[in-house]
């Protein structure tokens, strides 16, 4: 869904691409915040100066710089850019942490509370008072008041009130995080504990102040193209329906935008299916009571590594579609650099481990296309040597992996049965659920987990959900 946060992020990206292409990015960078928020015009926050300060940080994140790492507040954006562009180093700079929280943008949302609002009419029946299990509500001067020390946030009063007078407020980022990795620090500003963070990107989507930012490789990709490097666009299966037109037209658009070659990651997914199925059959032969879980969602793999160590051995060792796609590219041309294009924050962490050079989100790709005035629907379909098969293109949907493995195995072993479960979206309950499967309390032999409800197409950086 488009909102103010996505709008400003995309607008800045398009401006960066245009300024880069006109050769003026270095000189324009520091002017963008001022041009977007001229004095005497309306501001989104307290004043245009606060807005400008935050725009500077947004641009920093788009340059791939971590806002947390800032040492010199006086350092202009042009200096960050110069370091990047003229270092003469063509090894891709891969941010260690794909996310960064911008302190000045964070509004320090008040701690989660249940409060009574102006809607309260101090009624006679007082169902809130009667239904509160902790006797936390009193009516003072004709208005209900909740004692925060006693309140356990059960929400009984919320449902009881006929005037919808009682509401629960939350800290959106903390509420969204499935692993408790983002918390307000002693200054009341959100901070991510990267030891715990699984890069699911849920806080990035949840924060109404857009304080959680992605560290982008957009400018790195633009610069590499300009240096004349061979960059191959590997487009994730989730791209289907993200842009107007067909996936083959999107591939053409990528080629027009300056990629030396383009491919569907779904071709890699075909290889994942074949290997994962073989691996599954082998594991079952060794121990029919064990179970295997999928490895293509990097946020899920991060969750296991960081929070469910007892499950590590159950994670499939089969590489993800992105990794196979990279192999296909490298086999064709070892000197080519690979750019994964998808809807995912966590892929940035996987790319770092698996030697994929760059990751662009659909938004960032869109910004390059918009900046270069390339319309997907105006492009001829790319002459793919062979379209990926439909089960592979379906990988981005929840159940897609399960279906693909099932189809592959049934083809090989007639009558093959899969005792599968899908965890469709990681939240706070996921760990408990998964542990039940692991202990055998809820038997299963194939467990598919996707961090985003519905699958990758609803990823944190997808354009249409």
């Amino acid at each position: 869904m488009l909102n103010g946060s996505t709008f400003i992020r995309r607008e800045l990206m398009i401006r960066i691409v245009r300024a880069f292409d006109s050769g003026a990015l270095e000189t324009e960078l520091d002017q963008i915040p001022i041009k977007l928020r001229p004095k005497n015009e309306r501001s989104s926050r307290c004043c245009v100066y606060h807005d400008r300060a935050i725009l500077k940080y947004r641009l920093m994140a788009l340059l791939g710089v971590s806002v947390e790492d800032e040492v010199d507040e006086a350092k202009p954006l042009s200096a960050y850019y110069a370091e990047k562009a003229w270092s003469g180093d063509d090894t891709p700079a891969k941010p260690k942490t794909p996310l960064s929280v911008c302190g000045p943008a964070c509004s320090g949302c008040p701690d989660a509370r249940v409060v009574s609002t102006q809607n309260c009419r101090g009624c006679f029946a007082r169902p809130c008072v009667y239904n509160c299990p902790k006797k936390a509500i009193e009516v003072v001067d004709g208005h209900s008041v909740i004692d925060q020390k006693l309140c356990i946030k059960c929400g009984k009063c919320i449902t009881a009130c006929p005037y919808n007078a009682i509401v629960k407020t939350t800290v959106p980022c903390e509420e969204a995080c499935p692993v408790g990795a983002i918390k307000k620090n002693e200054f009341g500003v959100a901070e991510i504990d990267f030891e715990k963070c699984i890069f699911c990107g849920k806080c990035f989507n949840a924060c109404p102040f857009a304080a959680v930012m992605e560290r982008s490789q957009l400018v790195d990709v633009l610069a590499a193209m300009k240096r004349g490097e061979k960059l191959v666009a590997m487009v994730a299966p989730a791209a289907e329906k993200q842009f107007p037109g067909k996936i083959e037209q999107l591939l053409s658009a990528c080629a027009k935008a300056g990629f030396s070659d383009v491919m569907e990651v779904a071709l890699g997914a075909e290889m994942t299916t074949a290997h994962e199925t073989a691996e599954f059959i082998e594991r079952m032969e060794k121990d029919p009571k064990t179970f295997m879980t999928t490895s293509c969602c990097p946020a899920w793999v991060n969750l296991v590594w960081k929070h469910l160590p007892e499950l590590v051995d159950h994670v499939s060792l089969t590489p993800s579609p992105m990794v196979y796609a990279r192999e296909i590219v490298k086999a064709k041309d070892p000197s080519a650099k690979t750019v994964f294009i998808g809807p995912c924050v966590a892929k940035r962490s996987e790319a770092r481990r698996k030697d994929v050079d760059y990751v662009l989100s659909f938004e960032e790709l869109g910004a390059i296309l918009a900046g270069r005035k390339i319309d997907v629907i105006a492009c001829e379909p790319w002459p793919v040597p062979r379209p990926a098969n439909p089960t592979a293109r379906n990988y981005s949907r929840s159940c897609g992996v399960t279906d693909a493995v099932l189809a592959e195995a049934t083809g090989k072993i007639p009558g093959f049965k899969l005792d599968s479960k899908q965890i469709n979206g990681i939240d706070r309950k996921t760990c408990t659920m998964v542990k039940l499967h692991a202990s055998g309390k809820i038997p299963v032999n194939f467990l598919e987990v996707m961090a985003c409800p519905g699958g990758c197409q609803n990823g944190p950086c997808s354009l249409v959900k």
Partner: protein, 87 residues
Amino acid sequence: MESVKIEICCGTACYLLGAANMMNIEDQLPAEWRDKVDIEAKTCLELCERDNLGGAPYVRINGTEIMSQATPEKLLTRIGELIEGAA
């Protein structure tokens, strides 16, 4: 009465800045309006340059009228005015 002609810009800039939300506008039309509206997705209408992205996404109505910062709600209201007004 002539049907109302709606051209939604699906140029990448407009698409990213909000036209994506209007792709399914056809499904949001009340049944009685369906055959009175003719909706088309267009490539860049060449308006995004004019005010430096400020007005995207754009929709062109009946060939001449330009709606900037278009949203599904704004568009539906305008379509309603044109149909009911003409009725």
